[in-house]
């Protein structure tokens, strides 16, 4: 289904478009956005999405704090962020208009549901007068006012639904309109609706009708002056799948389970924005993956450690406040040198902070957040789909080096989605694990000379009975030891082991302008924004290079040499300068942070501006 033949509206090819759906928490904006995204993905666009919803489950209708938004950018090119500012804004009610209008690009398309611009709704959104009546609006934007409520009610007439029930489908009208505007087929969404409402035929019918009504209204009333077309993207060839970061992370863990040959236990206590990792993993019970919803984060991490002790890959996942509760157990994991993977989907803090918003401010906590000398490696995912690969890398390190590993993601990665190129099995690294086998005189702390890892001796193996614990151990035997010199040696050994992980990293890649004298050093989710900023800087400068750290701690061995090639080292971070601090203290290089702590990611344009400002100041 493409453009109806009798539709006279001109068609315009564009490279990309950013659409934001905004409405009440109850308006189903997340679902609507996700449907648009999935259809777009199957069509072959590259895309990136960014949901932004309130902490409240269903905030009272019409309130400003109850607005839920979902932004999707689709492109015919390889893109890395959901876009800075939308080209299209769908505003389901006055509150959504108020909280989102400032972001809409000048001249952008504004679709408003006039049906909700009643005096009561206007008041809840703290509007003194109806903004749609303000002539300025049409001067700045292409306004498309439609009464979605009315269209919906008429579409579902005769189904015997109450008004309230009927209006639940109005998001489908909006979706149908956009499908028409962007020439996308309805079938994927229709199929999805059939699955979702299989047991509620009336609701199903209402939704299907509403979806088609949206399409029809757009077609017949010629709501849009042009129809846009975004051609499929020239992505690297392969099979693709649209994934959210938390989904990709869960899949990466399942892949790690297969690649290592270990069974997996994921022990976790729900917390926003990490809960979806638990939810996703709970569905993989046929993959040798068990999940355990613990009573709190301490139980989660200690149960995961218990599972590792018993020979599984123990994994736990949480967000900042939960990580705080795991720190004592992480010290134990460092001391007993068992593999353990700890996922932190970071969110804005301190304390409870802004639980649904993103931030990268747990890095120093990850690196230094344990009593005494308790070093452990930190791995960070760069994009939603990279969460898959980062999880495998983290697992590889944990079992190769017998160490707890912190894997950092964040709310933006976890909830954001993009196409994931599904790798061939053969592309993925295997790291089959062999637990210790019975031997003459078993020494639980005798190390592999290369990795310094100790053997993993699993209960149930005859002849390997031994005892471990949180007290300092004698080198080799692992017996409790208070010997001063042994302690110093063990502290140094544990540090060398972690330091030595850097030898297994791939050499750093320097991307961007080969003549640059400024390098932008990034880690984690700023990857996409930095790439975007570099692309934009190709016209108009400055000349920039880009180095990204997948392995954040220990710092790569070649980092000093690489950064040393540049006059300026700039480090954009969604925190107050964590990586910059690490680079400064370890390498005595004047790494300058570019910080943002607003609970939202950098936009590419914004970041480029900040880089320019920073360079001008130096």
């Amino acid at each position: 289904m493409t453009k109806p033949q009798n539709d006279p509206t001109p068609v315009q090819e564009v490279d990309e478009v950013v659409i934001r759906f905004a409405g009440d928490s109850g308006d189903g904006m997340q679902l609507t956005g996700k449907q648009f995204t999935d259809t777009t993905a199957l069509f072959g666009n590259d895309l990136a999405t960014y949901p932004d919803y309130p902490a409240e489950i269903r905030a009272p209708a019409g309130t400003l704090f109850g607005v839920s938004g979902f932004q999707v950018r689709l492109s015919n090119r390889d893109i890395h962020t959901p876009g800075d500012r939308p080209d299209v804004l769908v505003a389901m009610n006055p509150a959504a208009l108020k909280t989102n209008l400032a972001d809409l690009k000048e001249g952008g398309l504004l679709i408003v549901n006039t049906g909700n611009f009643t005096p009561r709704e206007l008041e809840k959104a703290k509007y003194d007068s109806n903004p749609l009546e303000d002539p300025e609006l049409a001067e700045h934007y292409q306004v498309v006012p439609v009464d979605l409520n009315d269209i919906t009610l008429r579409a579902v007439e005769g189904l015997g639904l109450s008004n309230k029930e009927a209006l639940r489908s109005k998001n489908m009208v909006a979706l149908g309109m956009l499908y028409h505007a962007y020439g996308r087929p309805l079938d994927h969404t229709e199929e999805w609706l059939r699955g979702k409402f299989a047991k509620k035929p009336k609701v199903l019918e209402a939704n299907l009708r509403a979806l088609r009504a949206g399409w029809d209204v757009a077609a017949n009333q010629e709501l849009f002056k042009v129809h846009y077309r975004v051609a499929p993207a020239k992505l690297p060839p392969g099979t693709y799948r649209n994934l959210m970061g938390n989904q990709a992370l869960a899949m990466g863990l399942v892949a790690a389970r297969h690649l290592s040959g270990l069974e997996l236990l994921y022990a976790s206590y729900p917390i926003t924005p990490a809960s979806d990792v638990l939810h996703n993993l709970a569905r993989y019970k046929n993959h040798g993956v068990l999940t355990f919803q613990a009573e709190d984060e301490i139980a989660a991490v200690t149960a995961a450690l218990g599972a590792s002790y018993a020979g599984r890959l123990g994994v736990t996942g949480t967000s900042g406040p939960g990580l705080a509760l795991k720190t004592e157990a992480l010290g134990l994991a460092v001391m007993v040198e068992l593999p353990l993977l700890v996922v932190d989907v970071q969110r804005a803090g301190p304390s409870t902070g802004m639980p649904t918003k993103t931030e990268q401010s747990d890095l120093l906590f990850a690196v230094f957040g344990r009593n005494a000398e308790a070093p452990l490696p930190v791995v960070a995912a760069a994009s939603p789909s990279d969460c898959f690969h980062a999880a495998i890398e983290a697992a590889r390190i944990a079992v190769t080096y017998m160490t707890p590993v912190l894997l950092l993601s964040d709310a933006y990665l976890g909830n954001g989605a993009e196409p994931f190129r599904v790798p061939e099995a053969a592309e993925l690294p295997t790291f089959p694990v062999r637990h210790a086998q019975p031997s003459g005189d078993f020494q639980p702390y005798l190390r592999d000379p290369e990795t310094l890892a100790r053997p993993w001796a699993v209960p149930g193996t005859p002849g390997l009975e031994h005892r471990i614990g949180g007290l300092e151990k004698e080198d080799g035997s692992g017996n409790v030891s208070y010997d001063p010199v042994n302690h110093e040696k063990m502290v140094a050994l544990r540090e060398s082991k972690v330091r030595g992980i850097a030898r297994s990293y791939r050499p750093l890649e320097v991307e961007g302008d080969p003549d640059a004298d400024t390098v932008v050093l990034g880690w984690g989710s700023t990857w996409g924004a930095i790439k975007g900023a570099l692309k934009r800087a190709e016209d108009g400068g400055p000349k920039l290079a880009h180095v990204h750290l997948r392995n954040v701690w220990p710092l790569p061995d070649d980092l000093g040499e690489v950064l040393g090639r540049f006059r300026n080292v700039l480090v954009p971070e969604l925190n107050h300068g964590h990586l910059a601090r690490l680079v400064r203290s370890e390498l005595l290089i004047d790494a300058r942070p570019i910080t943002k702590v607003q609970g939202r990611p950098f936009g590419a344009e914004e970041l480029l501006d900040r880089i320019r400002t920073e360079l001008a100041a130096s």
């Binding site: 693709y240 236990l265 200690t302 002790y309 020979g311 614990g469």
Partner: protein, 333 residues
């Protein structure tokens, strides 16, 4: 896992580590008793896992020649839950103290009880923090002068057994460090019970709380001050076995031995066990020891694995390839 039950002696469970408790500590007798029980279980020693927290008592795993994990303060039940989930074939034991289990670790203990994680918890109750040098614990009677309560403690204590019953524990028992035969029987019964089993062991700390249980456990008075709860046996006590306990609609009373109620720890309703666990409150009743409750219900690890098995049966065993092949996908050429 193995078929022929292995033959062990107690000394097979003695590790090469020097025991570091104070001379005279009740922990020695318990260690000795548990090592004997281990030898009798018929469980291959490599399948025995002893997990502990922190405290004098929590040094226990170092001294038994099995797999041992001396973890952090209060978290042993959670670690043990992970062990059991990872491998339900393992025979999991938790050794803990009144501080470790009931103060910092209270939450994990009650959740392990609720979830019925199949493990034995040996709670060494000396009513004091031994390792940190004698502060009052959540089982210390009020008024006690300790380093942290120089004018006497004003904290009301827990009843460890009512707490466990309130949390839904399926097996709850009590024994005494010095009553080694009783201890072995009760520990053995706890092991044989499928599911979470808590054994409170009254343990004398000679250094910081010597004689804490003398009122009940002194050799002279023991028979009159204790009643042993034996499944299917009448609730009889006294040097002459002449006294008994009987439940009334509203309470419990001391009667002649032949009028005593017969004890049934398998009663699905925990009320009578709860009543008995409160017996030391009005001091006129004897202190019950033995098995208060032994009721089977589904065990967590078994349920979890059973569910995984069912799901695998339905969906087929997942592989790396099936993982990669899943979901709505599209091709880019």
């Amino acid at each position: 896992m193995t078929t022929a039950a292995p033959q062990y002696k107690k000394k097979d469970f003695v590790s090469d580590q020097e025991v570091r408790w104070c001379p005279g500590c009740g922990d020695y007798a318990i260690l000795n008793g548990v090592q004997q029980v281990f030898a009798e279980l018929g469980v291959p020693k490599e399948n025995l896992v002893v997990v502990s927290g922190i405290g004098c008592s929590s040094r226990f795993p170092y001294y038994v020649d099995t797999f041992g994990f001396h973890t952090i303060h209060g978290r042993a039940p959670a670690v043990a839950t992970g062990v059991k989930l990872a491998n339900p074939e393992l025979d999991v034991w938790v050794v803990t103290g009144d501080g470790d289990a009931l103060s910092i670790g209270g939450n994990h203990l009650i959740h392990a009880a609720r979830r019925n994680v199949d493990m034995v918890v040996l709670l060494f109750n000396n009513r004091i923090y031994g390792l940190t040098k004698g502060q009052y614990s959540p089982t210390t009677p009020p008024g006690k002068v300790t380093p942290s309560s120089p004018f006497g403690s004003v904290d009301a204590p827990f009843h460890p057994l009512t707490l466990a019953l309130g949390a839904g524990a399926g097996f709850v028992a009590r024994t005494v460090d010095t009553q080694i035969k009783h201890l072995r029987e009760v520990v053995r019964a706890a092991h044989d019970h499928p599911g979470f089993a808590l054994v409170e062991i009254l343990q004398n700390c000679v250094i910081f709380n010597d004689g804490a249980f003398a009122d009940y456990t002194g050799k002279e008075i023991r028979d009159d001050r204790q009643v042993d709860l034996r499944p299917g046996q009448p609730l009889v006590f006294g040097k002459e076995h002449d006294k008994g306990l009987r439940f009334t609609p509203h309470s419990i009373e001391v009667v002649a031995a032949d009028e005593a109620d017969v004890w049934d720890p398998a009663d699905p309703n925990a009320t009578k066990a709860f009543r008995l666990a409160l017996c030391d409150e009005p001091h006129e009743l004897p202190l019950p020891i033995g098995v208060f409750r032994a009721v089977e219900r589904p065990c967590l690890a078994r349920e979890v694995h059973e569910q995984a098995r069912r799901v695998t049966e339905q969906l087929g065993a997942g592989t790396l390839q099936s993982l990669l092949d899943s979901g709505d996908r599209w091709e880019v050429a």
